[in-house]
């Protein structure tokens, strides 16, 4: 059997669009509490607040409830300056966890 991928690695990358309007945060591997500082500094360290946030889950393997808490922290941060948060490229597992917590009411999920 192939070895399980991505269980030991976690990394967060972020980049701002050229016009400064969109912040994309990509989460690789497991998304859990151990990411919280990195995750938070990805959006708090910006000089100017973007008008939109995109969380790219293409390479996110698993997430737990603390990750859900972190997403909500970002949402409230974004709402403070009228920005919206989209969660994109979710795999089936990730979508399922988001759906159980009714996150589709709070985020644009795709």
């Amino acid at each position: 059997m192939p070895a399980l991928q991505g269980t030991h690695m976690m990394s967060i990358q972020s980049c701002v669009s050229d016009d400064g309007q969109l912040l994309v945060i990509s989460i690789q591997g497991r998304f859990d509490f151990s990411a919280h500082q990195e995750f938070r500094s990805a959006y708090e360290s910006l000089q100017t607040a973007p008008s939109g946030y995109r969380i790219d889950m293409r390479e996110t393997t698993y997430l737990d409830s603390s990750a859900l808490g972190m997403l909500l922290l970002l949402r409230d941060h974004a709402a403070g300056h009228g920005a919206s948060v989209a969660i994109v490229n979710c795999n089936q597992d990730v979508k399922k966890i988001l759906a159980i917590s009714n996150f589709e009411q709070l985020f644009k999920i795709s």
Partner: protein, 582 residues
């Protein structure tokens, strides 16, 4: 003919003097001579002695040279026995008659010794050349026969593997050239223990043996894993990895794999490099296409391979069509391709004519007519019809859906384990990957790894954070509290000196799946789980999804079949019931 170029020559002439002159010329060249006096004797002598060359007078009593030549040629069959006519005739018509009767040349009387000898030599060379050509022809024929024999055996081996499958299921129609495996085309179909039908159409690059060679491991992995209940993703990954490992660079397999679930009225499709698959809707007559979104099998290593599928609803009577590019790339006599537009028009015509049920035949006929009445060896076509929920396909007895089939697989089937983690471990070690890696060794459980991870993570962080570290979730109501919570978590964990977290995992097989019981016990004081559960209910029922915490228990309640807190709340038992097909 003997090796030193000496041959036996039959001389037929009714004139004694001519015969003797000829005989002496030929003997002087070193050849053996047989002489006869008329055509009848010539035919008899030929039949008896099989000379290599015949010198024959055209006009002879009893049977003339022309008729004798015809009979001798008939007796010689495929063997080249040159006949040179000896003639005093010189009119064109007589000479032509000699050649038409089967003569290869003529020589006029009186004989010119030098020319006669040269002609004999020339015919010896021609005869030799003919012999070599025939020998090579026979050799090629033998090789070809051997190749066909080998292909037949290879195909038998392949068929023995492929016939484990469900190709004969009533909702499957397919067309595959008898020697398709040597064109690189392969179709395999099998029924999973859960009753869904899995089908793979593959098209290896190249032709002949190199193209066929990958079909064997592909079929054998496919059947082995489908019957054991592995998920489509697991099977794809395994085939991809195996092909990547064994095939030379540049040889790979374009493939479409389908998992047709009758109970759910749904198909999962993965298309890597084959033409669009079509879904033909029974009611509306509409055609939806399923595009290739992946690279072919055997190209990427496992890290980069993507096994995500497209999920498509289908109602009973909807049909799914898969084909290799042989259909679309069939060419007419001027070299134009059949193309997708013509293919699509076959569907439209069938709707207009109310003959939707006959699309399969219409496609084959249409491609055949287009290609000028020839059916190419390269066409592969499958039609899969969605059945009503509850439809059961027969599968070979040895693979009947039961726990028995899984029991033959050497994975973790029925087992239990206990793991107790103590402070020195808890401080530095994350046990979740370890536990998850054990769980995915259960055949069929790998496709549930996302939910399993979340369940394990929630149970573990509850035990650690609330049980051992005594952290209150109530802190997590503000961003600062959230920060504080995790800062405290790492400080208290670093300082942890006593306590334990105890995992007990028990797995049992049940019909078409399994039941995993996870018990987690910690050395903490427990917590007011009743109140927590009530709070969790409130989060769920009152639609308040925006609190930063309190989400763990509702997640567990939804993901698990049952969830019970025991004792003081420092013990929890979560039961996960899983089916092979969800």
């Amino acid at each position: 003919m003997s090796d030193n170029g000496i041959i036996t020559i039959l001389i037929a002439d009714d004139t004694d003097s001519d015969r003797m002159i000829l005989e002496s010329i030929v003997r002087k060249s070193g050849h053996k001579v047989v002489t006869v006096r008329d055509g009848l004797e010539a035919v008899e002598a030929f039949a008896e002695l099989r000379p290599d060359l015949v010198l024959m007078d055209a006009l002879m009593p009893r049977l003339d040279g022309l008729e004798a030549a015809r009979r001798i040629k008939a007796l010689a069959g495929n063997e080249l026995v040159p006949i040179i006519f000896l003639t005093s005739l010189s009119d064109t018509e007589s000479l032509v008659q000699c050649l038409e009767a089967g003569g290869d040349d003529f020589i006029s009387k009186p004989y010119n010794r030098v020319i006669l000898q040269a002609k004999i030599k020339s015919f010896i060379r021609m005869r030799e050349m003919q012999r070599v050509v025939q020998e090579q022809r026979d050799q090629i024929a033998r090789h070809n026969q051997q190749l066909i024999q080998e292909q037949t055996i290879a195909k038998q081996v392949f068929d023995n593997i492929a016939h484990l499958g469900a190709m004969d299921a009533p909702n499957v129609r397919y067309f595959l050239s008898p020697l398709a495996v040597f064109n690189g085309d392969v179709i395999v179909a099998a029924v999973r223990p859960s009753g869904s039908l899995m089908v793979l159409l593959g098209d290896f690059t190249g032709h002949g043996l190199p193209a066929a060679i990958g079909a064997m491991p592909l079929a054998s992995i496919f059947y082995g894993m489908v019957h054991k209940g592995f998920s489509l993703e697991d099977i794809l990954r395994e085939i991809n990895q195996k092909l990547k490992q064994i095939l030379p660079i540049g040889v790979f397999c374009c493939a479409t794999i389908v998992d047709m679930n009758f109970a759910k009225g749904r198909v999962q499709v993965w298309n890597g490099g084959l033409p669009d698959a079509y879904i033909f809707r029974a009611v509306s007559g509409k055609v939806d296409s399923v595009r290739s979104t992946h690279l072919p099998l055997g190209v990427l290593d496992d890290m980069n391979f993507k096994a995500d599928c497209q999920q498509i609803e289908m109602v009973a009577g909807d049909r799914l069509y898969l084909w290799s590019d042989g259909i679309i790339e069939s060419r007419n006599e001027v070299g134009d391709m059949f193309g997708e537009e013509r293919l699509m028009s076959v569907f439209r015509r069938s709707v207009r004519e109310g003959r939707q049920a006959h699309v399969f035949d219409a496609i084959l006929r249409s491609v055949e007519n287009y290609a000028g009445g020839e059916r190419s060896d390269d066409l592969s076509l499958i039609e899969l019809t969605m059945l009503a929920p509850g439809a059961a396909l027969d599968c070979p007895r040895e693979f009947q859906a039961s726990t028995n089939s899984r029991q033959r697989y050497g994975g973790l089937l029925e087992w239990s384990m206990k793991l107790e983690l103590e402070p020195s471990t808890l401080r530095l070690f994350d046990p979740l990957p370890l536990l998850l890696n054990i769980l995915v060794e259960v055949p069929g459980l790998k496709s549930h790894s996302g939910s399993l991870y979340t369940i394990l993570a929630e149970l573990y962080s509850n035990a650690l954070e609330h049980g051992l570290l005594d952290l209150p979730s109530s802190w997590k109501t503000t961003p600062e509290g959230f920060e504080r919570y995790y800062r405290e978590r790492s400080q208290r964990l670093e300082a942890l000196q006593t306590g334990y977290i105890h995992f007990e995992l028990v797995h049992r097989l049940v019909e078409q799946g399994g039941r995993l019981t996870i018990r987690v016990k910690d050395s903490g004081n427990g917590f007011e789980h009743q109140r927590n559960i009530q709070a969790a209910d409130a989060v769920r029922d009152e639609g308040k999804p925006d609190l930063y915490s309190g989400r763990g228990i509702p997640l567990l309640q939804t993901l698990c079949h049952s969830l019970r807190f025991l004792a003081e709340g420092n013990q929890v038992e979560a039961v996960v019931q899983w089916g092979e097909d969800d």
